[in-house]
């Protein structure tokens, strides 16, 4: 992992990074989230967890102003995100959707350079600052050597690092990611999560991500929000949220919560029919 040397990035605030008030989101009139009040802590890693279709990705899209609420709003530093110009928001908040697809032949450098879009005017050429942030983003994600390669020639993990580099070049205090580790091998999953952890620790960026894996959420997040059917079931530090009761309510699954022997964070062991230790005399 490359050493992170921030250029001018100090993103630490004490105010909540994002708050929602009565946020109601819907797809085609079908309400997914109803009157949600939420405060996402600044400078922390927040994980959104829940079963498929619980609305966690919808919430993330709403927080990133990709989905217009039918009621309520999202506040970015006390200003409604929909009152700010979308380019202004893009300077403060970056969003990486789930499994984004780049056009065939796009190189890593070209992708990462797109992250500078909100910082450029209509006629303004590529500035030295743009160049520096692009180089830095490539270096942080360890993609410098692959910069001239087309994205479609890379492995899944490298590709995801390139997309994260694009979001980093955008240089926003807040970074939203929708399942940044899906379709990746376990080693790459850990690599990506470690990278995000470093970004948070060194630069104080606020990271909000949807995660599928409860144990990864507990290990990496400071703040966990568990959702079920568009409602918040529990929120707080992993140790408070991750209980057998929460897992039962959110996933409809019986489990045992133990201490992660590596990180000391809560770890969920599901109880299934095949839950007795193997016996050898079979």
């Amino acid at each position: 992992m490359a050493i992170i040397t921030p250029i001018n990035s100090d993103f630490t605030h004490s105010e909540p990074a994002l708050t929602t008030r009565k946020l109601t989101l819907a797809y085609d009139q079908a309400i997914v989230l109803n009157e949600l009040d939420l405060a996402i802590p600044s400078g922390k890693i927040t994980a959104l967890v829940g079963s498929n279709g619980c609305g966690k990705s919808t919430l993330l899209r709403g927080l990133a102003r990709l989905l217009k609420p039918i009621k309520g709003t999202v506040y970015l530093d006390s200003a409604s995100i929909f009152k700010l110009s979308t380019k202004e928001v893009a300077k403060r908040l970056g969003m990486l959707p789930q499994s984004p697809v780049a056009p065939e032949g796009l190189t890593v450098r070209e992708l990462v350079a797109q992250g500078r879009y909100p910082h450029q005017g209509w006629l303004q050429q590529w500035s030295e600052e743009d160049e520096n942030f692009t180089k830095q983003a490539l270096a942080i994600t360890n993609m410098t050597e692959l910069a001239e390669r087309p994205l479609d020639s890379l492995s899944g993990g490298q590709r995801q690092r390139a997309w994260i580099a694009m979001a980093l070049a955008q240089n926003t205090a807040i970074l939203l990611l929708d399942e940044p580790t899906t379709f990746l091998d376990l080693a790459y999953q850990i690599e990506i999560l470690d990278l995000l952890y470093d970004l948070n620790q060194v630069e104080g960026r606020t990271i909000i991500m949807v995660l599928h894996d409860l144990n990864q959420a507990c290990r990496y997040a400071d703040f966990v929000i568990a959702l079920r059917q568009g409602q918040i079931v529990a929120q707080g530090i992993p140790a408070d949220v991750m209980t057998e009761g929460t897992v039962r309510e959110v996933f409809g699954l019986e489990s045992r919560i133990v201490k992660d022997p590596v990180a000391g964070t809560p770890m969920c062991i599901p109880i299934s029919r095949r839950s007795h230790p193997l016996t050898s005399n079979h």
């Binding site: 992992m1 490359a2 050493i3 992170i4 040397t5 085609d28 899209r61 990133a64 102003r65 990709l66 110009s85 979308t86 380019k87 202004e88 928001v89 893009a90 300077k91 970056g94 969003m95 990486l96 959707p97 984004p100 697809v101 780049a102 056009p103 065939e104 032949g105 796009l106 190189t107 070209e110 992708l111 797109q114 992250g115 879009y117 909100p118 450029q120 209509w122 180089k135 830095q136 490539l138 270096a139 360890n142 410098t144 050597e145 910069a147 001239e148 955008q170």
Partner: protein
């Protein structure tokens, strides 16, 4: 493992560097000029290059000089303008719809423009180039709106497949209507038969002069949107996240597409495949950055249509084919190749 210092020293030579791309652009322009000059010398009667030169710069009114200035020169210039317009329109459409198979022909814009022209010729007889142009714009716009709407119905919104199907269905329908009108009306057929197959022959410089402003405006709009289109090719969510107002970008780009495709149709009839093929050829060299892709597409579109027209003049000499048939002969296999590759991946 690299450290944060090493990237500052590292300057990889790249075939995508600015100077390389600029050089390619200049080479392209020179090639286009050479192709055009060759195109001026060849045809039903071969005229030597020095006669061509004198016809252009020391006109003496002889038959050969007249052929050059009133027949071949307008033809070469119109082929270039139409080729550039179609190639840029195709590039824009492929970027906007994130669909490698998009082009004014396949998505029904050319067929819509052509139908509009045929219908008006049927009712009002022969029209001025100026009115052809506006009628073609109207037909192209309506077709674009209908195809886009049809391609977007249903739960998942617009998908590449639905868009292509909608374009194909509407193209068939409009071509059928066009054919129907032509069968019913011998007069309409006689007036626009050659135009309808796609041809850059038999137009004078005056018609080019009348349509050129629309092409120029279309190109300016397209070039000024190139950064936005590049961002849009990353997907709507990513583009929105980068602060793009995608509704506006799409609407303005659609205006450029209709201006370019409509101008091309009103000048030369529905010529297919240039808008499809050229962006792919150009992407191979300059990648997907639209700031480079669009100027390259304009030059190569101009060159390719000029060459296709030259071939159309030479294959069954002294007669000639409409250039639209020539581009279809070359473009159709390419379309099948692309479609097969897309299905595989």
């Amino acid at each position: 493992m690299n450290t944060s210092q090493s990237y500052l020293q590292q300057q990889l030579p790249s075939k995508r560097s600015h100077s390389f791309r600029l050089l390619g652009l200049i080479v392209g322009i020179l090639l286009l000029v050479v192709c055009s000059l060759i195109s001026l010398t060849l045809g039903a009667a071969d005229i030597s290059p020095d006669v061509v030169w004198r016809a252009l710069f020391a006109f003496d009114g002889s038959t050969n000089h007249l052929i050059i200035t009133t027949v071949r020169l307008p033809r070469v210039l119109i082929a270039s303008a139409v080729g550039a317009a179609l190639a840029v329109a195709g590039s824009l459409m492929q970027g906007l719809t994130r669909n490698a198979l998009a082009d004014p022909g396949i998505l029904g814009i050319s067929a819509g423009a052509a139908l509009a022209v045929v219908v008006s010729t049927f009712f009002w007889g022969s029209l001025s180039v100026q009115s052809y142009t506006w009628i073609a714009f109207a037909g192209g716009t309506i077709a674009a709106i209908v195809v886009y709407t049809l391609g977007s119905v249903g739960r998942n919104g617009m998908t590449p497949l639905k868009l292509i199907l909608a374009g194909a269905v509407l193209s068939y329908l409009m071509s059928a209507l066009t054919t129907g009108i032509l069968i019913l009306s011998q007069r309409t057929l006689d007036e626009i038969r050659f135009w309808l197959a796609g041809s850059v022959a038999g137009r004078d410089l005056d018609s080019l002069v009348q349509v050129l402003p629309y092409i120029v405006v279309g190109l300016i709009i397209a070039f000024s949107l190139s950064k936005q289109i590049t961002a849009l090719t990353l997907g709507e969510d990513v583009a929105k996240g980068l602060g793009l107002q995608i509704g506006w970008v799409k609407a303005i780009a659609a205006v450029a597409v209709v201006l370019l495709a409509g101008s091309a149709v009103s000048l030369a009839g529905p010529i297919g495949f240039i808008g499809l093929v050229v962006p792919h050829i150009v992407r191979f060299w300059v990648g997907v950055d639209y700031r480079w892709l669009l100027p390259y597409a304009a030059i190569w579109g101009a060159m390719l249509l000029s060459l296709a027209d030259l071939a159309a003049r030479l294959v069954i000499k002294p007669q000639e084919l409409p250039v639209g048939i020539m581009t279809a002969l070359v473009g159709a296999p390419f379309f099948i190749y692309l479609a097969r590759r897309k299905i595989k991946s």
